[in-house]
Symmetry: C2
Subunit: 142 residues, 2 copies
């Protein structure tokens, strides 16, 4: 049975720590939904927050500047019947060196390389910190 | 480089025919985005349309009755850097026998069994037919 919580629990954190893609949904200007597959990171201070690294001016970023509400979903690559869906908000944007270092950290996680190979000239990276409001977790059933 | 088209092309159809999960984003009553991983099917008549099978009364279904706009994304399970994202609308809902047979077809595709094992008592299945309006395809790059 799936469980609904307000915060991220340990098994959910594991899904985000794994080499799984996240699917992030934001709102277009006309209010319609948009979705993008993306790398993802998770951080624990007092509570867990989810970190997505994007570049300034991308659709996702523009949408979230206008409306910070989003949904994010991750499925276990080794067992797609374990999954989590989160609804929440972007509460902070982190730019400059921290964001550049963070995309390298993600390149290490997902590609096994030290430097992110996808940089475009002039591209400015941004970390979006996401605070979960509703977490729907479905533990592995098969 | 990614390509934007109005209709589904052959390589995109292959992603939907494969045993890949789709992530479907719809709009909650307050306009915020919601997302669910789901099985998916694709059909060709004159043009391709995407078929998602859900049950009456699920969040996704309620949301789409209120606002038919959605986004759907699929990543190649064997190469996550091949991906497609579609924005579009639900144009038709198919119920009764056709929808019950269709969920069995999906159970065959995803689980290799003849009958969908997840039926709840009284559950009514519904096929949502989705017409794509914008298709963003990223061919495999690595």
């Amino acid at each position: 049975m799936s469980k609904v919580t307000k915060q991220i629990t340990e098994p959910v954190a594991l899904l985000f720590q794994g080499k799984n893609f996240a699917f992030v949904s934001t709102l277009m200007k006309d209010g319609s939904p948009q979705i993008t597959p993306t790398w993802v990171d998770i951080e624990k201070n007092n509570e867990y927050s989810i970190l997505v690294n994007t570049a300034e001016g991308r659709i996702k970023h523009k949408n979230l500047l206008r409306d910070p509400r989003l949904a994010i979903s991750v499925v276990n690559g080794s067992n797609p019947y374990e999954m989590v869906t989160i609804r929440g908000k972007v509460t902070e944007q982190i730019t400059q060196d921290a964001a550049e270092e963070h995309i390298d950290k993600l390149a290490k996680k997902y590609l096994g390389v030290d430097k992110y190979p996808g940089r475009s000239p002039g591209e400015k990276r941004i970390i979006l910190r996401i605070k979960p409001e509703k977490v729907f977790y479905q533990p592995p059933i098969r």
